[in-house]
Symmetry: C2
Subunit: 137 residues, 2 copies
């Protein structure tokens, strides 16, 4: 498994304030896709004085330094997940909002192929599948 976010911050020489440590820790402990408000709520548990502006500034810094990736699921809020993990896409449960991560090499290959056919070299993509749970009954 990859290094913790705290370690990665130190590794690139980021100044580690108490607030950044708290936010990094919260991110390390999150396996979902929290938005800024949610990160703020979780961080507040460890540091009741932290401000929402700091959360916003910190995730922006982390994103710029390649520590986080911003993902947007079309609800108007930005969400964050640790970057540098294996690449994956998202499937969103239409009813619960639950987000499932998956990776499919065929999709990746196909996307390259489509881009090439259109005369492009692929530099990125975003893909979200929306679905409803198959009931077994």
């Amino acid at each position: 498994m990859a290094d913790s976010i705290i370690k990665r911050c130190a590794g690139i020489g980021l100044r580690m304030t108490d607030q950044r440590k708290v936010i990094a820790m919260v991110l390390d402990q999150s396996d979902d896709h929290p938005d800024a408000e949610e990160l703020f709520a979780r961080a507040t548990i460890h540091d009741p004085k932290i401000s929402l502006a700091t959360v916003y500034r910190t995730v922006k810094t982390f994103e710029e330094r390649g520590i986080l990736e911003k993902v947007e699921f079309g609800d108007g809020r930005a969400r964050y997940e640790a970057a540098g993990r294996a690449h994956h896409d998202h499937l969103i449960d239409e009813n619960s909002g639950e987000v499932i991560e998956f990776y499919d090499p065929d999709i990746e290959a196909l996307q390259e192929k489509i881009a090439a056919k259109l005369g492009y070299r692929l530099t990125g993509h975003r893909m979200e599948l929306i679905g409803v749970k198959l009931t077994s009954d």
Copy 2:
């Protein structure tokens, strides 16, 4: 080719005000993906008195009635395109912002398959490829 947006509005019994006619016409004449502000700018040419709020209300109405589809390219603004055309996805030129529409049946099939494998029935998806133009030199 599909009916004009104006016809489709009439077809579902929408009250056709002058403003809606103008916005529908602007949409019919657009082959790109304008956002609300851009639609407002184009509509203003035909009706200098139209208000931005009306543009927002109208695209929302059109979307709810299945006449438009909202697409978001991650720049914080919603964009619109005529719905009910053949399904397609988007490739965005990283440098110019140009949007190319494409349809690939293999992608569609693969998405269904992935969703099924995860225990879901696919109800929708969004996919944008980001790329840079292949230079021929």
